[in-house]
Symmetry: C2
């Protein structure tokens, strides 16, 4: 497919910086902290939103955000993405006119995800259109994915204060990203999948964060049928996962997990006390 023209006026910014802190003994230590910076998104020179982000893959973040907010529907229509960290701006230029989107900007839902953001009215209206295939999943596949994921979380290990999200296939981590806002992390992965026109059908979505309504919606938008979280789930997150038919596994760490939905489609081929 025709890839958009990605223009970056500078290198990607730092992911972490060193700062001096004082511990409970009054001793000075040097610690890494995660960077966080604004990125103002413009679609055809109309300002849409300012995202606070780590900024590791801004072009994918911006496109995923616009796609998940239903501002963009056709990747072929994207001409250019200009990332300018000097002005903290991301300009997306499309072949299609987007003026009709102004109305969508007026209705907002502030969601609950860890570092999540805003959903516009048009997204909430489209929920019933999201469908994922009703797959079955082997317990050993869950463990393979969790094992593969242990090699990531670089920024988190160094600095904390970020969430990681990943798209996995069997024991392979296809893409992993961290951000100060987990909504940014999932939007970044959504942007990559969308640009590559990857199907979500055979993928597993992993997040270190909680499964709130907004996270489940974003995964449904990606068409991914399995959702794996190291954290917990909220009632609305679970209700939506049931509505979409997403196998929803939370509290997943090491050999432990809790299947909140779709356990009937999990094949318990290895038991929890068995090395995967």
């Amino acid at each position: 497919m025709a890839k958009p023209n990605i223009i970056k006026t500078s290198e990607n910014p730092l992911q972490t910086i060193e700062v001096d802190v004082f511990d409970e003994y009054g001793e000075k230590l040097t610690k890494q902290i995660a960077c966080e910076r604004p990125l103002t998104v413009m679609l055809n020179w109309k300002e849409i939103v300012t995202l606070m982000t780590l900024g590791s893959r801004p072009e994918a973040l911006v496109l995923g955000y616009l796609k998940n907010q239903s501002f963009l529907s056709n990747p072929e229509a994207i001409e250019s993405v200009i990332i300018d960290w000097e002005t903290h701006s991301a300009a997306v230029i499309t072949k299609e006119n987007t003026d009709h989107l102004d109305k969508a900007l007026t209705k907002k839902t502030v969601t609950s995800g860890c570092g999540q953001g805003t959903m516009y009215g048009n997204v909430m209206k489209q929920l019933e259109n999201y469908k994922v295939p009703q797959v079955t999943l082997k317990q050993s596949e869950i463990y393979s994915a969790l094992e593969a994921l242990t090699h990531y979380n670089n920024t988190y290990k160094k600095a904390g204060a970020v969430h990681g999200c990943a798209v996995c296939k069997a024991d392979e981590v296809l893409s992993f990203v961290e951000d100060v806002g987990r909504h940014n992390a999932v939007d970044t992965l959504a942007g990559e999948m969308w640009l590559n026109q990857d199907s979500g059908d055979d993928k597993i979505f992993y997040t270190t964060g909680r499964l709130t309504s907004e996270m489940v919606i974003k995964v449904a938008q990606m068409g991914i049928p399995v959702l794996l979280s190291r954290s917990g789930v909220t009632q609305m997150g679970l209700d939506l996962a049931k509505q979409f038919g997403i196998i929803t596994i939370a509290r997943a760490k090491g050999l432990r997990f809790q299947a909140f939905h779709g356990a009937d489609r999990i094949v318990f081929d290895v038991k929890g006390d068995t090395e995967a």
Copy 2:
């Protein structure tokens, strides 16, 4: 002061519900999960936003949100707050005309906080106006607050997937609230302080969540000079804390903490290995 008329058409909704989950052995367990529900905020019958919330103190949440977003400035001007969980609506009616606020709705910043939300342009413009007193803090006061806080986190202990925030004074927890979005938790406390016209000068703000830019801004808006977090801090959160002069302590748990800003105003009267 004249308190607004708080009208609730029903009891507050449940905070947690029981669900069946299946563990890694395929065994069925019953677990509690945190509730999450939409609450659409209307200011003088104009729809402002839909918040996803646990909904424990919706009237304080809604007023704190509108105050922190600079939609409201004078608590005396609030006539009524109507909370209707049937329609998931919160209607705030004021004596003052608020039509001039429409412009503010057009510029949004999606922040990074854990379950944070949206800040409108007018907030970002006012940052330089926020000031807190340059207090000194005893290490023993930090421990007293942390000790007092161990008696809270009820929903988290039961169900996880929520963040807790508290306003403390010395060893007293003046107010504690949990929510699926930590921006909601801080807005709720801000709403209470604002209605009571409490000063933040002698308070400590505690959160289980990360100190991202938005959290630090909200604490500065409350005029609280000390920020205590069980989690980490981001670069922009720290930069803003320095700008506001907020003593910023992260990774605070038990006797351990790391002072990221204002360590020179902390009196290390007990060392980390000494029982508080």
